[in-house]
């Protein structure tokens, strides 16, 4: 970085616009700005700091705006601004940085705007200005000259203090010499246990749980597969069994079809047997009725044949049937004895009535049996006639008995015949029962197969679900493998950075101590030397009786030590190692040294020595000094001065910047 110019407007005691052009020559690399006390030397250094970082560190809390300007503003009731612009060269490009703070008049008072405005641009190869977006300006300035390190290059002797007690010296050395880069790298790579680190993030992205889930899913899948195989075997077995029973069913049905005739015969037999029972019952009833009938007129049953025999015998007998029917001889004699007939006729022996009666006696037994036979015949016929229904009924029942007996006999013959036919044939019922049993078994097996199908389906679902889980998580497992590879590289990178940091840190400490001692020896006119500890803190030691002792420091010696340290640091910063690969973490940088009152407290000899060293170390040196200090330095530096300015203090609130030419010297 080389500073080309500084332009200030209304900044503290510098009214209106002032511009300082700095020497950029390598041979005359010093820009000298001389000024008396309170002429604005420190203000100029602070102008750099304010322009770059927006901060200014003044002892008084006065406003940044020039006092005269603020009076003018109030008088004219117009706004104005404080502005500082820097033009610099960095890595071959010319940058323009300007920061302004508007001021306004409010009720007879000049007030700064709440925020300053920063603008930055750079000149492109074709000469065109390219504006840098506002949000990138801060980081661009940091890239050019980090604020943390600025105190070492924008050096305010009064404020810098002792390098030994500076708390940021470690960071400054590390920053300038590249150790911060390695330190940050180590910090960013971190450890697996550190969540906010590269390794921690890789570790956190490992899906270790996913492995377990995948294993579990795989186990479930395998169990389900085993179960499915078992179920399938069972299904196969039961399907075969079912086929067997279906075959058996077909065969049984075939047998039953074959036994249809037997079934018919069986039915016929059963029908005949039922009919036989009915006929036998009927026969028993017929017998009962016959006996009841027979008992009702047994006499006739027995007598009738005799009567018929008697009538047959009497059929040819001479029967005198002149007599009065059913009259007997005793009745006639009684009438004769009474001497009067029942009709009133008097009966007297010999009269006609008597004679008729006597004739009648001739037709009656004992004198005649004709009448008796006639009576017998008549009575027998009546009796026989009266018994006709009895015999008809008896005959009818008897016939019925005979018919039943015949029927029974026929049925028994037929049943015997059917039995004979059915003999040696299978029982239909047995086969029917067998068929029913087979059908039940088929139903049971079919139900079981349904259940097995459901269980197999369930296992398929388990397999499918777990396969998805497995696929998802085995993906995680694959991912883990990939992450592990990244982690291996990160670990290797970490090892390398650790080693490099350790080596570089040691090298830098030794080399810095060497360099600082080199410059210290050039500047200091005594026998002390510098020691740098692990924190890059600088102490002065002296040797007494082969013992090294830390020595007290005067303010002058402090200044010498500070410059020796800064010189060593700047020297190392610009050092470009031949082997770029071995110096990856730092770019060789040319830092300007802008020194405010650098020779304060240093004696004449030390000023002279510092004056010899500084132009050699820094690519650009801007010295803001009092005239008396310059007198000691001039001898060594005058040939190196490319630009010279004088701060012409007009009043406590106004300084003019005057460029000093050859004729003004």
């Amino acid at each position: 970085m080389i500073i080309k110019s500084l332009e200030i407007k209304n900044f503290r005691q510098f009214k209106n616009e002032k511009k300082i052009l700095f020497s950029t020559s390598e041979s005359e690399n010093i820009t000298l700005i001389q000024g008396d006390n309170t002429s604005g030397k420190t203000t100029l250094l602070q102008a750099f700091i304010w322009c770059l970082y927006g901060e200014a560190n003044f002892k008084s809390k006065d406003s940044l705006i020039n006092t005269i300007t603020s009076y003018d503003m109030m008088a004219s009731n117009s706004d104005d601004e404080v502005k500082v612009s820097i033009e610099l060269i960095h890595h071959g490009l010319i940058y323009y940085i300007s920061r302004s703070l508007n001021h306004v008049v409010r009720i007879n008072e000049v007030k700064p705007a709440p925020m300053n405005i920063v603008e930055m641009s750079y000149k492109q190869q074709d000469g065109q200005q390219q504006r840098i977006p506002t949000h990138q300006i801060k980081q661009k300035i940091e890239e050019i000259l980090p604020q943390d390190l600025s105190t070492y290059f924008l050096y305010d002797t009064e404020r810098f203090g002792n390098i030994t007690t500076k708390s940021d010296v470690t960071d400054a050395v590390k920053g300038i010499l590249g150790l911060t880069v390695l330190e940050n790298t180590l910090n960013h790579i971190g450890k697996e246990t550190q969540k906010t680190s590269l390794l921690g993030k890789f570790h956190a992205s490992l899906n270790l749980k996913g492995n377990q889930v995948a294993d579990e899913a795989l186990k479930n899948m395998q169990e389900a597969e085993d179960m499915k195989v078992t179920l399938k075997e069972r299904e196969k077995e039961k399907t075969k069994e079912l086929e067997h029973y279906h075959t058996a069913k077909k065969q049984t049905i075939e047998i039953l079809r074959g036994l249809e005739e037997s079934a018919k015969l069986q039915l016929e037999r059963e029908k005949k047997e039922k009919e036989l029972i009915y006929e036998k019952n009927f026969l028993n009833e017929s017998f009962a009725q016959f006996y009841r009938n027979f008992k009702s007129n047994t006499f006739m049953y027995l007598a009738k044949p005799l009567m018929n025999k008697a009538l047959e015998e009497l059929k040819n007998a001479s029967v005198d049937d002149k007599g009065i029917k059913d009259m007997n001889a005793n009745s006639i004699r009684d009438i004769i004895q009474r001497a009067r007939c029942v009709c009133g006729t008097e009966i007297v022996e010999g009269n006609t009535a008597h004679n008729c009666l006597m004739d009648e006696l001739q037709f009656l037994p004992p004198e005649s049996i004709g009448n008796l036979i006639r009576n017998f015949k008549e009575k027998t016929n009546i009796m026989i006639g009266a018994s006709e229904n009895y015999f008809e009924n008896l005959n009818s029942h008897f016939k019925s008995i005979l018919i039943r007996q015949n029927k029974i006999s026929e049925l028994e013959d037929e049943i015997e015949s059917i039995k004979s036919n059915l003999k040696d044939r299978d029982s239909v019922r047995k086969h029917q029962e067998n068929l029913t049993e087979i059908e039940n078994k088929i139903t049971n097996i079919e139900n079981l197969l349904e259940s097995l199908k459901k269980q197999i389906w369930d296992q398929d679902k388990i397999i499918e679900t777990n396969h998805k889980t497995y696929s998802n998580n085995i993906g995680a497992s694959e991912k883990n493998r990939e992450i592990r590879v990244y982690m291996e590289y990160a670990q290797e990178l970490l090892k390398w950075v650790e080693t490099r940091y350790s080596n570089r840190e040691n090298d830098i400490k030794n080399k810095l101590e060497e360099k600082v001692n080199e410059y210290f020896t050039k500047i200091y006119h005594g026998s002390r030397k510098v020691r740098i500890d692990d924190k890059y803190r600088v102490t002065l030691i002296t040797t007494s009786s082969d013992r090294e002792l830390i020595t007290d420091e005067s303010q002058g010696l402090e200044t010498v030590k500070n410059f020796a340290f800064i010189s060593g640091l700047v020297d190392m910063a610009k050092e470009k190692l031949n082997d770029e690969k071995s110096n990856l973490e730092m770019d060789a940088e040319d830092y300007p040294l802008i020194l405010d009152a650098p020779f304060s407290n240093a004696d004449e000899k030390h000023v002279e020595n510092i004056s010899k060293v500084l132009p050699e170390v820094a690519r650009q040196l801007i010295l803001i000094v009092m005239a008396k200090d310059w007198n000691y330095a001039e001898k060594s530096m005058k040939n190196k001065v490319g630009k010279r300015y004088y701060l012409d203090k007009k009043s406590e609130v106004l300084t003019e910047i005057v460029e000093v030419g050859e004729f003004n010297v």
């Binding site: 980090p146 880069v181 960013h188 890789f202 883990n480 291996e488 990178l493 390398w496 990856l584 973490e585």
Partner: protein
């Protein structure tokens, strides 16, 4: 930390060198610019590493 087996895996030294270079380059830029936060830098390093490891030469 993990039982993961990386025995079959071997670091590609060329890739590692490129990762080293790019990592330091990024870190160096960020020291200068302070543009990226810690998280952003870790993410940048992660991207470099993943990109280089997966790069096919």
């Amino acid at each position: 930390m993990s039982s993961f087996n990386t025995e079959e895996f071997e670091i590609d030294k060329k890739k590692l060198e490129i990762i080293k270079y790019r990592t330091i380059h990024e870190e160096k830029n960020n020291v200068k610019t302070k543009a990226k936060s810690r998280d952003a830098m870790i993410e940048t390093l992660r991207s470099i590493l993943i990109e280089e490891v997966n790069k096919k030469y």
